[in-house]
Symmetry: C2
Subunit: 512 residues, 2 copies
């Protein structure tokens, strides 16, 4: 069939989609989501070959008339021979081989490295449609991936994008997430860099939580950099704390995440390759993985976390990364602050003054940093945390953090009180005495997000008393900050309707 | 967030999609495929309520600028309050409950009727996105549906669309497909209607095969009708042979099929409800189901077919349909003709002259018709086929077919030689003698489709000798018709490169 190119002034991100009229689709015998070969039969350039497009159908007959083929501007920019009005030959095409491999996974079979490579390279080129990728992700969610498959997937994803080389021994820390206020990276990175080890920390923005490391760091300095600038910063300062999203590391992983997210799926078969790909792309050789376990995390029980840790370590080893995993408590926030600016403020306060605490942040940060220091030969086995605490106490970590902030374009002299909060604020006091038996993370997250997190960096919550604390009537226990009065009201309403995140009990355990 | 409506002059068929700028998406914290509540905050009409839309993101910043919300014309036509330039309030929304039920199926759990109803009603309203439906279909493919779930799904799908009532006892025939040249409906429907039973045959066009019943019938008479015309025809003539696609029976099933097709999935958990929904919508009470078994069909072994038959009968009974199933041979085509016009011609020839055969078409059609005649009390148990053959031989079935053709707007005096074939044609002759040990259906389908089937109705193939036939050198064994010289060449090439669909052997079985 011959069709004339019609430009559609709209960028889809789906670089293989074209639009044809419903009558032409009927004649081709292809339905929406099926494929066609297309080629400009007039152009003489050597690059002018048949390529495969996925069809959308204009049921309304309003944009793409019979005899036309609608091509989106992102494709027109890429395929120079497809000028408006050009005559295009169109014929039905079968799905790519990779689609057969997706079906194989759905049938519960194991995929070979070649098959996984094929799926990943077609995902990146746009040759697999979103619904085909959704089927793949669902298939992996149900049938899983074994260690060989996860290893192959990691390597395939790494190959899909840019890679960096910062030296023989590059360190990193990662968390599987799920605990509020987990600003430990802002403490660990400067400690490790202060010890002389290389740690190019590329982090994410919050997806479902009130703040990600990149969100918090952004209240201290810019976090979005080109590859060149990243190389320069790491070679000068051995470290950085940046947002990974601006780099072109593992586009394949990003494409899968774009479908996983609306499906609320994060199967282990994809999660492990996703973590390791980002690390491998940045040349990481030694990694400590923080695995929070318990309600609200990805691992409801310590056993589930432990099982994951063993699998993770093995896949990491297969791809050349030495990984140590730490199962950590997740029953209440780390420190007191939740939200981008509040977390940065709490971290900066601790970096400047060890005695300010909070204890849970010191302990978790130095435990994880200690593992890295031991892996890097900076401390003997069992002595890493002591060294980490020294680097923190002595102000060396703070000095490193100032260098990082300056290198990224922030003010190295920034003080905790300079960090903008609110400006709307509401405090909550206890109305009776007792001791705190439980802190509810889900309610904390809900309130923080209602207040504006993570998009509003100055919004967030502070929790002043945690599990085990004794409180008396009138104690300040909770504070909400928001950038908008109406959002503050909404957050307040959640606090009042749920009774807040703190559960009080008397001291009696049982009456017999 | 407040955004201004911008009209996008493009109909998507996804009635819940809206487009926002990437910056606004970031601020809302919603990614592509996630949801927002939207409402015109200026309009005062009572119908002006918050409704949920699924967002697409304009990454190019070219159509939908920051501060705008792109609304497709199909939504603008439906939601009168969304005029261009209106100010819209937009806020993040969670997925509907039905999405939780999809996840439940993916986790391998059983769904309740309420949960299935919720999925189906959200699929029809456009509240579930294509990737969510792809996840559902993949989940059903892997985890299956039990009989209660299939029953509930059938009833939910029926409720999604129009229903017809043609009387207390309405009959029908259906095939699970996979055997070429299966034009039996064109024989069975007039036989059953000639006996006095009601049979409103709604059929499909070919999807992956060279011809569907609707395609063949369309070479004799129009097949696309409104509900009113259908009611009129059935009340006058007790029958019809139409294309079901023009009716609004079970839009839910059509929506699922739109995703199943590009995924090449047709799980039993959806297939049985799909068949039964279409029948139930047309008020069918008694059904004979033709289940071809063997290579190339949905059931590779008779056992697989039998198992399916038992399940089918039970679900049918649950929804008030009495079903009889017939496992049938599928090792070679039914009759000699494959392709819309050729099949209509073969059927019309038999209806006009019983002695013309072919035998396989007579036997299969009258066996299946016989079962319906017995179910309808027109023949005693075991005597149905005899009556079916009488109705065919006596010309009563032909007379009924003439009435059907006339009622649908065709020429009742049409003769086999009036049916247009080709005009390009190529014949193939044997080059050695022997007997035919095998006929390869897949090669026949491939040749017929290369020649232009099903879109080109005059294209197709004829096979003159089938399994067990003895042939001598120079016998005509195969003929290809095509509407285009180049397509004929392509079909010819497949014949030559595969050696054709017929496999010859000597008479010797074993040499010892």
């Amino acid at each position: 069939m011959k069709l004339k190119v019609k430009k559609i002034n709209f960028e889809t991100g789906n670089t293989k989609d074209v639009v044809i009229n419903k009558k032409d689709a009927l004649q081709l015998g292809q339905k929406a989501g099926e494929r066609v070969y297309i080629k400009n039969i007039e152009a003489k350039s050597l690059e002018n070959k048949y390529w495969v497009a996925i069809i959308q159908i204009d049921y309304s007959n309003s944009i793409v008339k019979q005899g036309e083929i609608g091509i989106f501007i992102d494709i027109l920019q890429e395929k120079k021979e497809l000028v408006e009005g050009a005559t295009i030959s169109v014929k039905p095409a079968d799905p790519p081989d990779s689609f057969r491999f997706i079906k194989k996974k759905i049938q519960g079979k194991k995929l070979s490295s070649e098959e996984i490579n094929s799926i990943i390279s077609d995902a990146v080129s746009g040759s697999l449609s979103k619904i085909e990728l959704a089927a793949f992700i669902t298939g992996v969610s149900i049938n899983g991936m074994d260690n060989e498959e996860m290893t192959a997937l990691t390597l395939a994803e790494v190959r899909s994008g840019d890679m960096f080389y910062f030296g023989m021994d590059v360190f990193d820390k990662h968390s599987t997430g799920g605990v509020p206020g987990n600003k430990v990276s802002l403490i660990i990175v400067p400690i490790i860099a202060a010890s002389g080890l290389i740690i190019p920390k590329s982090s994410t923005r919050a997806i479902t939580s009130p703040s990600g490391t990149a969100d918090s760091m952004e209240t201290l300095a810019p976090v979005s950099f080109t590859s060149e600038k990243l190389k320069e910063m790491v070679s000068k300062h051995k470290s950085c704390i940046i947002w990974g999203g601006a780099l072109n590391t593992s586009p394949a992983d990003n494409i899968l995440i774009e479908i996983e997210r609306p499906l609320h799926m994060d199967p282990i078969g994809l999660m492990i390759p996703s973590i390791l790909t980002k690390k491998l792309s940045l040349g990481v050789k030694k990694l400590v993985l923080d695995i929070p376990v318990g309600e609200g995390t990805k691992f409801p029980t310590p056993d589930a976390g432990k099982q994951f840790a063993y699998t993770f370590k093995e896949i990491a080893k297969n791809v050349g990364i030495e990984a140590e995993c730490a199962l950590t408590l997740a029953h209440q926030p780390i420190g007191h602050a939740i939200g981008p600016a509040l977390e940065a403020k709490e971290a900066l306060t601790l970096l400047m003054d060890y005695s300010a605490g909070p204890n849970s942040l010191i302990e978790k940060s130095t435990e994880l940093a200690g593992i890295l220091l031991e892996m890097g030969g900076k401390a003997q086995k069992g002595k890493g945390q002591i060294l980490a605490k020294e680097l923190l106490k002595s102000g060396k970590a703070y000095k490193k953090m100032q260098q990082i902030i300056q290198a990224q374009g922030g003010d190295p002299e920034i003080k905790p009180q300079d960090i903008k909060l609110g400006p709307y604020m509401k405090e909550f006091f206890t109305i009776k005495e007792g001791h705190i038996t439980e802190v509810n993370n889900a309610i904390i997250n809900q309130i923080a997000k209602a207040a504006g997190c993570p998009h509003s960096k100055s919004s967030g919550v502070e929790i002043f008393k945690k599990q085990g604390a004794r409180i008396k009537q009138g104690d300040l226990i909770f504070r909400i900050y928001s950038d908008s009065e109406s959002r503050l009201k909404k957050a307040e309403k959640i606090y009042n309707s749920t009774g807040g995140p703190i559960i009080l009990g008397g001291m009696m355990i049982e009456r017999i």
